[in-house]
Symmetry: C4
């Protein structure tokens, strides 16, 4: 079993480089990965432009094979670097990593599956992996926490908005002509969403006086209720930040997150 | 009167299943009701699409009779389950329940009343009944409270916005040509609302330099004053949340405002 | 001078009815005035619609004379009810009251001055007079105070936005074709305002790749910086409200506006 | 070296007039500068309008030479007034000052470089120099601080939004026809940005049912997540303001957080 230790050692070193960003080698790997992701995504983007595909189709295809090769090597290395490869393979990022390389292989085997190419765009999700590189993890965490803490209120709010636009869309469907674009209730609901969210494409717009009065009501409503999600998340962030300002830790139990006016630890009662 | 007790018993059990969601049977009933509501609303939605109505008109009509039958049985059961049926019948949800089934019966009697069908969409309001199922009642209550507490400020704000758009709409009516779509003062006010709320359909847009300057002013105004309702609701929610945090008072010094995870008073160190 | 006292008395009573809303007579007067204002504004609105003017032109004209007569009587009564009529006549509401009746008189004397009619819309401003009727004065005051306290920050913010849209509009003017609607720098700035405020009419839209990239940048910018005025007003309202929550008055000096955690009066040092 | 002192004196006086706004002469200089900037920018703006250029081209060109002359004199004076001219010349405002006059000189030497004219618009940035004139520096500083303190959260938020619109744009590209305007992935991403930021030009709009469902989802998403930057900046401003209120500490018990109108400590009653 003497060979096991160096083997273990090799895996730990690989893990440090690929999965972490604390060492110079790990940072270099992450920076290179970030560029590879952005370049490969950019290649998919420009390939979808007809004129570019006509002029540089071959080059872009070669580039795609190159990136797929690189990401395949990376995927295999990731599988080798972790102790339980299966757990990694079925994790969120493991699946994203696999979906980033699979389409090119499928396309080679089944030449007709060209529409699968866009699945490659999922590579973009891998960018979030590199957040740790720039040290924005804490900010991302705060935002995620605030949104997560607000999720129930946001769901309630969005349900109310959805019921509202459905009912208002139905009323507008009765009031307006089909010629103005309100051909069915679902289409009218689509228009109601466009209006209440203040997007306002203008491809469908009410023509009758009653329809325009209804639309006015909906715009003012949408303009007023946008306050609700903003208030929800704002209150949550304000609270998070308030808790956040105090960096005092209890000298006895080490608990953190004390209020600014606390003179005793709220967990063990020791004086701060 | 010996028959009264079991009769009472039967009513209580029915009430528990239909009106509450604490028991397994009550939960199952609510889930089934939720699906029935969503499916029947979906049927009304797709029926309004001309091509779908042409292809599946008969099936959708049969479905409608089925759902109306189900909701009628449910309505009768609700009337039986409460002690004072009339009070339920004239309550908000009682009327919504009735309006959800009435249009189909009216349509059978008066074949021409097809436009009544959309009244069925009111079924959607019944979805809110099921909020208790998912335990979001507290969040809904907080949002309702914050909006209710802000109602006077929001009314004042909306009145000011309405007066503003009316005056600005009138000025634009003088400035702009009728050919650009500003055919009357009400139409110009409609455009002013579309602009101030940042919806911006683009079906009517100013063509003259003066009109575009006025429009720019209004957009910037609308962009700036959206802050007001947001601030109102946000401040209200922040206050609700602050009060909400914890209602625990220290048994020793009586201090309040403890965090949810506090086990000792932060002012005197006494255990909570 | 014995006649002076009853004369004074008569003026006081008139003042109570016309300028205040505490007595039943004063309330009735305000409600009647509110209806007269809204109806006369409504008449001006519908008169501007060509088809309505063709059908009911005479009736609307008669109505206008009736309302002008009523408002003239009211204006004279207001002049009589105050001790210093000139001061009232040159106050904000005094001028609005005069401008509400003047156009009709001018029009009778100078038949060509039909465009003056819209000046009548200023009547709408008189609605704010009646705010005291519904007891929303305190809410209006809080909103006004918050906006007033934020005015300097809002001016700084709007100046920055104006400089930004001017520079971005200029860049887009260079990048885009005149054919896409970007015919001059002012027109491009108009488009930039339409874009940054998220109104988005769509009458002018970038056609080149560079223009669309710039537009994307501006939209995201506008979407992000809308946070600034909202944050300004929100923070101001939160502060106002925070001060507002404590209704405790000092038992010694009667001062109000204490913090929730205050145990001594901040003005005289007396314990609360 | 006796001549050095008066020379120094002269430089100090020039510096006081040109760079500061505390003296009457300094204020007059700043007001004159503000008008010169706004007028010269206005001249560039109207010159870009074809009809104005045709009618007043010569006059505007003369005006441009006048302003360039004035700004050149000012630039030279600024170089003379500071002790280290090079440091000023390469500072932000030094470069802006240079770029404000350079295009006219370049144009005289190279008649074809007409497109350089718009570089003159950078003059507008000089307006911020005059902020100190109106005493809004503190407000500008608070806003800058709040935005600066929020920068990391805003970057994280915008990165998430960019990844989101890229993925959603790609999906819509697959779902929608090229005929509806979704000709490539970059174009679809442009549309996704237009939609999520609630701008909604309407030049490209989804035509299929699936595309409209996706669009609805995106609008509601955009409508909900606008809360995030607003909450971030709002929480930051609320904190700044809270800290800002008062930095006074009680001389007796040392308590802080007093109101601006407090004359006695709210915790111990000691006079402040």
């Amino acid at each position: 079993m003497a060979s096991s230790a160096p083997d273990q050692d090799w895996r730990v070193r690989l893990h440090t480089v690929i999965f972490e960003a604390d060492t110079p080698a790990g940072k270099r790997f992450d920076v290179a990965l970030l560029w590879a992701i952005l370049l490969s995504v950019g290649a998919v983007l420009v390939e979808s432009v007809a004129s570019v595909r006509a002029a540089y189709g071959e080059e872009l295809r070669a580039l795609e094979f190159l990136f797929t090769g690189l990401f395949t090597v990376e995927y295999v290395l990731r599988l080798l670097a972790v102790k339980r490869p299966l757990k990694y393979a079925f994790s969120f990022y493991g699946l994203v990593d696999l979906l980033s390389i699979l389409p090119t292989f499928v396309e080679v085997l089944l030449p007709g599956a060209a529409s699968l190419r866009v699945v490659r765009m999922l590579r973009l999700l891998r960018v979030f992996r590199v957040l740790k590189l720039v040290g924005f993890l804490r900010e991302a965490q705060i935002l995620k926490d605030a949104l997560w803490a607000s999720r129930r209120k946001i769901v309630v709010f969005l349900s109310a908005v959805l019921v509202l636009v459905t009912l208002l869309g139905t009323i507008v469907y009765i009031v307006e002509d089909a010629e103005a674009g309100f051909t069915s209730i679902p289409m009218s609901i689509y228009w109601a969403i466009v209006t209440v969210t203040t997007v306002g494409y203008g491809d469908i717009a009410p023509q009758t006086v009653l329809g325009q009065m209804l639309a006015s009501l909906m715009m003012i409503l949408g303009y007023a209720i946008i306050a609700v999600p903003t208030g929800i998340v704002g209150a949550e962030l304000a609270r998070t930040d308030a808790v956040d300002t105090n960096t005092q830790a209890c000298p006895d139990c080490g608990a953190e997150g004390h209020d600014d006016d606390a003179t005793f630890c709220k967990h063990c009662g020791h004086s701060l």
